[in-house]
Symmetry: C2
Subunit: 412 residues, 2 copies
Amino acid sequence: MKELKGACIIGQSGGPTSVINASAYGVIDTALKSPCITQVLGAEHGIKGVLNDRLFDMGLEDPEELRLLKYTPSSALGSCRYKIADPEKDDTDYRRILEVFKKHNVRYFFYNGGNDSMDTCNKINTYMQSVGYECRVMGVPKTIDNDLFGTDHCPGYASAAKYIATSMMEVYHDAHVYDTGMIVVMEIMGRHAGWLAASAALASEYGAGPDLIYLPETDFSMPKFIEDVKRVYAEKGSCIIAVSEGIHYEDGGFVSEAKVAANDGFGHAQLGGLAAILAQVLKEETGAKVRGIELNLLQRCGAHLASETDIEESFMAGKAAVENAVNGINGRMIGFERGVRDGRYACKTKLIPLMEVANVEKKIPREWINAEGNGVNHQFIEYALPLIQGEPDLPKVDSLPRFAKLKKILAK
Amino acid sequence: MKELKGACIIGQSGGPTSVINASAYGVIDTALKSPCITQVLGAEHGIKGVLNDRLFDMGLEDPEELRLLKYTPSSALGSCRYKIADPEKDDTDYRRILEVFKKHNVRYFFYNGGNDSMDTCNKINTYMQSVGYECRVMGVPKTIDNDLFGTDHCPGYASAAKYIATSMMEVYHDAHVYDTGMIVVMEIMGRHAGWLAASAALASEYGAGPDLIYLPETDFSMPKFIEDVKRVYAEKGSCIIAVSEGIHYEDGGFVSEAKVAANDGFGHAQLGGLAAILAQVLKEETGAKVRGIELNLLQRCGAHLASETDIEESFMAGKAAVENAVNGINGRMIGFERGVRDGRYACKTKLIPLMEVANVEKKIPREWINAEGNGVNHQFIEYALPLIQGEPDLPKVDSLPRFAKLKKILAK
């Protein structure tokens, strides 16, 4: 392997998570210590920061503030949802990226994101190879959606799952306080994969979980849904429901977008999300007290409930990306392989070709979902429970979180 | 003081909080140890449990499970929103209560709730005195709304405030991740008093708080609101807003209920709450990306973010109720008096006549709110910050909360 000396760029992309900064810290900390890497640059707002030559010199940051990134939610460098063009159709962006890479002698590019970001990574890698510019491009996975291909799970998922399961347990207790009955619909993120909504089932292990769970992996039927809820409510006097925002009818139409029915007086545009729609339907159908709760952004930035396992694995993914790149690896995303050590869950990194990851979505196996499509079984619990383990020692000031404060000094 | 021997009843009423069970545990634990109290009964669903003679023998519970009540959100005995009649108009309920009291030789009645519950307490006390049945009736305060009269603050408020401030800090970070601008409207509980929404300002002390806060203590003006948001958004490219659910126009009409304007295409019934309404208005007015977030039940049951100060004070309130009652005190609610010990915040209990507390609401002093009515000043911060201090050592199993499980065995 030829030693490659030069600067590196770390960029963050897509929706933030509670632990994406732990991965960034894994990259930054490892890169700062690497003799091959001459400068560690943080791109402002992902690939946009490269295009705009807005690159922060991470070596000028206070090491203690960098360490706090492990416990700081959201993307500290700023994120973007910039879709890079196909290089055959329009190579403007690529020529600009090459120009900036050359200016700063960038020889390592680490991109921290989900499916789309891996696609960006892959395209940049292909372009750099096609023009003969030596640069090692590595993907560092991130997504609360847990839908990246080829990895056992994704950094960010477990902390969101822990937030969801804990909140579900608390809401369960709250919703059972009166003897007058209550139906709760909890809307959980996940447009195409139900990993997040399914994590509400972890609460069931401790007697405070949802009665019903609906996921995008199966088709949603409103009459069946109403029937399910009525049955549970008649039996228990309450019904707690977890739904993925991405549940859809057989024809693919999202329930959140559809007008529910022509004849229910509900044909107008609505403001609330899916939870509000379903709550309205259930109110009309049951006459019960119904609450729609949308976990919204809270589930993806709830760092105070982060899984220590997730934080450490996210850091490990960033670290592995740098170590592998320095050792000559290129065009790979870091993935996780689940194993067993001393009879307990263990996790190690593996390498997945970017080409295989880009734009593919991994869903919950159908056999982990019950036949009726309104719950998950023990295979899911066994999969998810080890991931949420461990409480980080969260830095606090005045009992509120002490998040990292970066100086963000532009590189010369 | 004459020694009074007999059973006691503890009941919980109104909306639950993260720490109402800590107060119940304060009552139960102290009562179980008191030689004057012959039996400790927990009323199922508050006063309804008395009326239905559904009383649990708390002495039969596992002491360790009772201890877990300190960390268990919601009302473990069950709550109610039962409005007891005026005894002069209809004394049916009171005669039934007397009957049940006599059956179990109940000589102490502890009621754990907010304004309405203190009214119930007061009426029962007056009735028992009028019929010459010796029984000591004590109110144990509880409300996230922090609006009880005569006490510096209320058990339950601080934990909700800490949940709100922490969530605000996390959402602030999430909302600043893109360079494309973002407006967030966070809807916080509080129908008539703004203590909860104001607590979002605690996040501002750490650089991650709301730009604007709207409270029910001042009249809301939609044009002024739009102007405020547009100004902040133009200046910063983002705007984070905290609103009380109870904000209202000058004529008293709730913003959450009103049709916003006749000519904005927005005159239809809406499903989401206030956050959805305001988000829609701001979308139309600014064209920006706007997110409405409703903290919903999460803020009142988020025991994983409880304030240790709040837990201990809630326990103390329950304990003081029993100790005072056993010492001959009657017809009082336990209140808190703020003081200073060794230069730091300290809190001790005091006694407030139930008659003075019932049905009165305490609001934020106008001088703690800025002149424009869109923020709070440092007097509020100095008031609220000491209350949220301290992290409880939360019992967990598999990294999820381990809440109390009561056997709830009916008393013979």
